[in-house]
């Protein structure tokens, strides 16, 4: 029963490749060979293709749709319009935010490129010809693209379909173009603090509209098996179970007759959470034709119609004493949601978790008010590693504290130390309603400043400034909130935001783990195996992790908002501990001792005081099927549904150094140092990769990404010709570091990290650029910091003479 050739404890731990191991990824094997299975790789017998006719107008009535010519194109089988979907009740669909969105434009279009008709044909070439041949006549309507004008008395009414409703799912609204007002905090106490403050600052800060743009666009293959009445949809879904439930609700098909499969997904970043018209139309077309129908959107479709990110028009204020100690924060936000509210957020949170806007700082009182409005633009708002509007909140507070530093003359690092929530204050109850689990902000910032020689940088900056050279130092000390979330206040269309893990251990000591989450590159096949490996003492190499097939995976709310590790990772640990508890009983039986006589070491139970008497998990696994104690069922498996008691609060300290060409406005990132604290680190290699990727996204957002609309509602820049996706040449080098402050409520102390680099990165870049101009009195510069915008500041202050 005992192993003969004994490895040391360290060697046995290393063999496990468990928590903390920078082990290589299991999923790489197929991707490096080009054998991934992405949605466009899925081919089913008889499969046909579908694509959309899209509106060139941003706001118009549809006066006619003539499909005659399209139907005559060789290879075109059908052209579906809203009229055809109406009898199925599918021409509109409910959104995740309590609104409704058109699947196919019903009598009018609300944004440029909105779906008007769905052409089905033998292949994508015939379908493209068919799309060209559909003739649609429009009657243009006045266009609304400025959210600031949305609530004007004479604003055009966009949503005639809900014009008479006094709520569109988020409380009472006061205007046909108004969606919701959300308020949190204490308005009166905040006003009192401002009235009595020694110093106040106020900035108008726009977080412009951008788009997560994963390398793989959205798509699906929908296949209705008429014989068995089963609808299977392969698709780019970050939340396959939610999609299944929603499809059941809107089609009337039983959920047991719907199978949703997310195969390999080529990046999500929040772009692939909600349901798009393409999924509904493909499914409807499959139901009607009895053939599998594939829809794969183009990049321009992706950038101009699927879930955009941000578009938050913010006015932020801080009140402080003369030493820069903040006494209050106030924020008003005008949120441009586009034509439908498809905001993918927990249902009770129309502005996500924006009230994390107190950031890393101990701010005694605050007030936040957010108004959401409709405009003639694509719908969305929550996406792009935003953690539910946390990117917006972090950007605001980090910009404001820099502005406060400039106003008070306090150094930008020092002012943060003065305002940090201190380690002894945790768990910390913020004035805007969150209980931060753990953190040590001063230690993180100290480490970061030492690593970059902050004093030396400030000295260098002063010397350069004397010569007219522009150098900037940007600090971002962010706290973010992830791991949605406790079901008492987090649900998506009523489904509580728990998550799940099922573990089954096989007789010969390997295991299969299935979860309700869905990786789109985050490495779950490796990292969740690592969690389970450490908990139950089997090598992660022998633990297979599956996600994404609703027929086999336990119900979960999917992967976005860095929730997988905090919620499903916790479920994995809890499930593993249940396995271990049963294993302990079996071990006691095998070793003929009491359960309490056993202690666990790495991969086995040892009898206390008799260490050579042990039962490894491998041995126990076999026993679970062959030699179990009286009264116990066979098998070694369990499922855990984990309802997190709280969110988790990863944090970080980033320092960015930039040199700006005062003649062209070009910004060169000289150095970027990122210290992240995500609690327990499951795989340092995977964490580093997440940080690199998130910082690169933040760089793109800060330096060049924008989706611009002209006054006719034409979207500009919605292709890779213009939309800034940096190549390896533009992308800076990243230095990563860490501290570890475990989450006290998480079973393994882990917090999640995916979103942090985007949350903290954007303000770090922006702060650095503004800092370069701080001595000229510049307190804010709008993003993205394209060369021409930076040049405008240079010109304004005559710095290029």
């Amino acid at each position: 029963m005992n192993d003969v050739a004994e490895l040391t404890v360290e060697e046995r731990e290393a063999t496990l490749g468990g928590i903390g191991s920078a082990r290589k990824r299991k999923e790489d094997a197929r991707f490096i060979r080009g054998q991934g299975n992405f949605v466009d790789d899925v081919k089913l017998p008889g499969m046909v293709f579908g694509d959309f006719v899209r509106s060139p107008h941003a706001h118009a009535r549809i006066t006619s749709i003539d499909t005659t010519a399209a139907l005559a194109v060789p290879g075109v089988a059908a052209v579906v319009t809203a009229k055809d979907l109406e009898p199925l009740g599918l021409h509109w669909m409910p959104t995740l935010a309590g609104d409704v969105a058109a699947v196919l434009a019903d009598k009018k279009v609300h944004f440029q490129n909105q779906e008007v008709a769905f052409v089905v044909g033998v292949d994508r070439y015939a379908v493209a010809d068919g799309v060209q041949a559909v003739e649609v006549e429009y009657e243009a309507l006045p266009v609304l693209v400025d959210p600031k004008k949305a609530l004007d008395d004479d604003a055009p009414i966009l949503r005639e379909d809900v014009a008479d409703k006094d709520s569109v799912g988020q409380g009472t609204r006061r205007h046909p173009n108004h969606i919701f007002t959300w308020e949190v905090g204490d308005a009166d106490a905040t006003e009192a603090a401002f009235a009595s403050a020694a110093v106040t600052i106020k900035e108008d800060i726009l977080y412009p509209r951008s788009h997560p743009s994963p390398m793989e666009t959205c798509g699906c293959v929908a296949s209705m098996d008429a014989t068995n009445g089963v609808l299977t949809v392969y698709g780019t879904f970050q939340a396959p179970h939610v999609i299944r439930t929603v499809v059941s609700l809107i089609t009337g098909l039983a959920e047991s007759k719907i199978r949703i499969v997310s195969p390999d997904v080529g990046g999500g970043f929040g772009n692939k959470v909600g349901a798009y018209p393409g999924y509904i139309c493909a499914a409807a077309a499959s139901i009607v034709t009895g053939l599998p129908v594939k829809w794969i959107e183009s990049r321009m479709d992706n950038l101009s119609t699927t879930a955009f990110a941000r578009d938050y028009h913010m006015t932020g204020e801080l009140a402080a004493d003369a030493d820069g100690r903040i006494t209050a924060v106030r924020a008003y936000v005008l949120a441009d949601h586009g034509a439908f509210n498809t905001h993918a957020q927990p249902s009770k949170w129309p502005a996500g978790f924006f009230n994390i806007v107190t950031g890393s700082y101990d701010i005694p009182v605050g007030h936040v008010k957010v108004d959401g409005v409709y405009t003639n633009k694509a719908p969305g708002g929550v996406a792009y590693r935003c953690s539910f509007r946390v990117t917006e909140a972090a950007y605001l507070i980090e910009r404001l504290i820099d502005a406060l530093a400039q106003k008070t003359g306090v150094d930008k690092a020092e002012i943060r130390f003065r305002n940090f929530v201190q380690p002894e204050q945790f768990p910390y109850n913020s004035s805007l309603g969150w209980e931060y689990d753990s953190g040590d902000y001063p230690a993180a910032l100290k480490k970061a400043l030492a690593a970059v020689d902050y004093e030396g940088l400030r000295k260098e900056q002063a010397e350069k400034a004397a010569k007219g050279e522009l150098m900037g130092i940007g600090i971002a000390t962010f706290t973010e909130i992830v791991g949605a979330g406790p079901t008492r206040n987090c649900d998506i269309v009523g489904l509580g935001m728990f998550d799940s893990c099922e573990i089954r251990v096989h007789p010969t000591g390997s295991a299969i783990v299935r979860l309700g989450t869905k990786s789109q590159g985050q490495g779950h096949e490796t990292t969740f195996a690592q969690i389970v490996a450490t908990e139950i003492g089997l090598p992660s190499d022998d633990i297979v992790v599956e996600e994404g097939d609703t027929d086999t995976a336990p119900y979960g709310l999917g992967t976005y908002g860095s929730r997988s590790t905090p919620v499903a990772g916790a479920a994995a640990a809890v499930a593993a501990r249940k396995i271990k508890a049963k294993a302990q009983k079996i071990a006691a039986h095998l070793l003929e001792v009491g359960e309490d006589d056993l202690e666990w070491e790495v991969d086995r139970f040892k009898v206390k005081g008799l260490p050579e008497k042990a039962a490894t998990m491998k041995e126990i696994a076999m026993a679970a099927y062959s030699n179990i104690p009286e009264g116990m069922e066979h098998g070694l498996e369990t499922t855990s549904y984990y309802d997190p008691p709280n969110f988790t609060y990863p944090f970080g300290a980033y320092v960015c150094v930039v040199d700006i060409d005062r003649f062209t406005g070009e910004v060169k990132v000289r150095r970027f140092y990122a210290l992240d604290d995500c609690g327990t680190r499951i795989n340092p290699m995977v964490i580093e990769g997440q940080v690199h990727g998130g910082l690169t996204e933040a760089f793109a957002i800060a330096m060049g990404q924008e989706l611009v609309f002209d006054e006719m509602g034409n979207i500009l820049g919605a292709s890779f010709q213009d939309y800034f996706i940096p190549s390896a040449v533009e992308t800076p080098e990243w230095e990563t570091d860490y501290t570890v402050t475990p989450s006290p409520h998480h079973p393994i102390g882990a917090k999640g990290v995916g979103e942090s680099p985007n949350v903290g990165g954007v303000p770090a870049f922006s702060n650095a650029i503004v800092d370069a101009f701080a001595r000229h009195g510049v307190t804010h510069m709008p993003m993205p910091h394209t060369t021409w915008r930076v040049w405008q500041t240079i010109e304004e202050h005559g710095l290029n003479k």
């Binding site: 197929r30 292949d123 994963p214 793989e216 990727g693 190549s727």
Partner: protein
């Protein structure tokens, strides 16, 4: 539209098919030959996910008609292997250095790196970055991809020296 014949060698195999003249090489490979390694990430010839090797050159197969490649030699990720039939040093490098996350850009990226190392067997970091500037990635930030290519270059140069 009438189809025309095309003949080419793909990953060492002779291929003869009928295609519409407008059929893009990427669709020929993915749909007609079932080589779904190269991917489609855009339609404006920027992202490079479709990169293959054509007659000794890295090309974006979404911007080439299959009929233009008639008589040519194509290499896709499916044809990239080590000398012993196992993993190519580039594939090893991508795995060792965490040069991929979602895997979507990876086939095009490795295929491009494969040609890059033939152009320049010992590229500096800057040369690698310039060399892969036609391949976009959203997950990795490129840093570990650069390390992966350096890993491969070192292994291949060491093998070369050992052979000499």
């Amino acid at each position: 539209m009438a189809k025309i014949p095309v003949k080419m060698t793909v990953n060492g195999n002779a291929v003869e098919e009928q295609v519409e003249p407008r059929l893009l090489l990427i669709h020929f490979l993915r749909e007609q030959l079932n080589l779904t390694g190269p991917h489609i990430g855009c339609e404006t010839s920027h992202c490079g996910a479709c990169t293959v090797d054509l007659d000794g050159r890295s090309v974006k197969s979404c911007t080439v008609f299959a009929c233009q490649a008639d008589g040519g030699e194509v290499l896709t990720i499916e044809g990239i292997k080590g000398a012993d039939g196992g993993l190519h040093p580039l594939q090893e490098g991508f795995m060792q250095e965490h040069g991929l996350q979602c895997g979507f850009c990876t086939p095009g990226m490795i295929t491009r790196a494969h040609r890059l190392l033939q152009e320049n067997p010992n590229p500096s970091e800057a040369e690698i970055r310039a060399g892969i500037s036609g391949n976009l990635c959203r997950c990795t930030g490129y840093q570990n991809i650069v390390k992966a290519v350096r890993y491969a270059a070192e292994r291949m140069n060491a093998q070369q020296e050992a052979a000499e």
